[in-house]
């Protein structure tokens, strides 16, 4: 553990980068959506409220924000907010399914400096991808990438959530990214949002986790991970690149579409809500003085992991993964590489895991009603 990380655990003047979900509206209904998005929320921040947040972030010298949703490009003020952010010296990366990137928008995006684009993709072919993200979404993503390439955007990112069904496709994802001159990003599936419902059957198995770790060590030099696989560092001598710690409330946080501030995008739940940007003192007050973040910045209880020699590289894994599978926060991660989490899960009664608080999923289509007699 480097001295730096010890200091980072105590918190920073401002987040290094934060995630800002601009809207709960989405044109898709991915089965594992961490924000359970689909429907717009009437309480979503107005353009002026959003700009006020950006003013604050500038004053705090936040360098870079990650914009997401839902599908952020659905917002009518999407470009206005992105351009405003950049004008305030705040770099933007936005995460999108690509449905709204046609030729004209690709050109417009290419003219913007300090803007990164991250296209979501969860399969190296339509069959694998569309099973999770919906019919036609693979083609949509590729189309967006083609437009970006034609417009000379430069290097964008392709972001993959690693699942049981795409673990074997990592080489193909890399080849796809290389073919566009794009950067590949692979991240961990968390049981958050709609992910709670599908996690059991979708999260990588223990042998698959080892496969991911080995692949990252062998091929991952130019692959980003958002430090989301730090729990796998228990497997070896060499740590994967990254801070190797849970950043929630310490170096990162989430601003949700209605202005609520959470420790991270994977814990949109009351227990992890720090406050609201609409409260007196705004975001700055929440970041610097909220009770939740103060708690997270103090040494955490190690609990059951205290006797494990892997605690230093693993750090007890992911708070969100433990919370939404019904495991104690001071115990093993459900994907603990030594199997301690699996054992602990066996003790969690069916239905006992917390349900996500927010659900903006679209209602299921009505079942057809037949009129008259058949």
């Amino acid at each position: 553990m480097t001295a730096l990380v010890e200091r980072l655990k105590g918190g920073l003047e401002a987040p290094i980068c934060l995630t800002w979900e601009l809207t709960y509206a989405c044109n898709l209904e991915c089965v594992h959506c961490l924000s359970s998005s689909g429907r717009h929320d009437p309480r979503e921040l107005t353009t002026d409220e959003a700009k006020a947040v950006l003013d604050e972030l500038q004053a705090m010298q936040v360098f870079y924000i990650n914009i997401g949703g839902g599908e952020p490009m659905i917002r009518r003020d999407f470009f206005e907010l992105v351009e405003y952010s950049v004008s305030k010296g705040i770099g933007v990366k936005f995460s999108t399914n690509g449905a709204f990137i046609g030729a004209a928008r690709a050109r417009r995006l290419s003219e913007l400096d300090y803007v990164d684009i991250q296209i979501s993709l969860d399969g190296a072919d339509a069959a694998t991808n569309d099973a999770v993200r919906g019919k036609g979404t693979y083609a949509t993503a590729i189309r967006a990438m083609n437009h970006l390439r034609n417009a000379g955007f430069g290097a964008f990112k392709i972001s993959v959530v690693v699942t049981r069904h795409n673990v074997g496709q990592l080489d193909r994802f890399k080849a796809l990214a290389d073919s566009y001159g794009a950067e590949l990003r692979v991240t961990r599936l968390r049981p958050s949002g709609r992910g709670t419902d599908v996690w059991d059957g979708l999260h990588p198995t223990n042998p698959q986790q080892r496969q991911v770790y080995r692949w990252l060590l062998a091929h991952g030099e130019n692959v980003l991970t958002g430090d989301s696989f730090f729990h796998l560092n228990a497997l070896g001598e060499e740590n994967l690149p990254g801070l190797n710690l849970c950043g929630a409330g310490r170096v990162v946080c989430l601003i949700d579409p209605i202005g609520d501030v959470y420790a991270c995008p994977f814990v949109v739940q009351d227990q992890f809500k720090a406050g609201s940007v609409l409260d007196a003192g705004g975001f700055s007050q929440v970041w610097k003085h909220s009770e939740l973040f103060g708690d997270l910045r103090r040494p955490q209880s190690v609990g059951a992991c205290a006797s494990c020699g892997s605690f230093d590289p693993c750090q007890g894994g992911c708070m969100a993964a433990k919370f939404f599978t019904g495991l104690p926060l001071d115990g093993a991660d459900p994907e603990c590489v030594w199997g301690d989490g699996e054992m602990a899960l066996a003790g969690v009664p069916a239905g006992a895991a917390p349900k996500p608080m927010m659900d903006h999923s679209k209602p299921p289509p009505p079942t057809p009603v037949s009129f008259g007699r058949k």
């Binding site: 070896g236 991270c264 020699g309 605690f311």
Partner: protein
Amino acid sequence: MSVLIRRPTGDTLHEMEQDTTLADTTEVDEHDDQIVDELLIEEISIDGMCGVY
């Protein structure tokens, strides 16, 4: 399922706990020689922190 990697014992954790206390000093005092050896700069990827899209 064969275990390919041996899990380290808890002793390592104890040693690490002792190492980190020294690193918390930021004042220039008699621990100066440790500070001289410590890397004063550390680079990290902007993508290198967990809890971000």
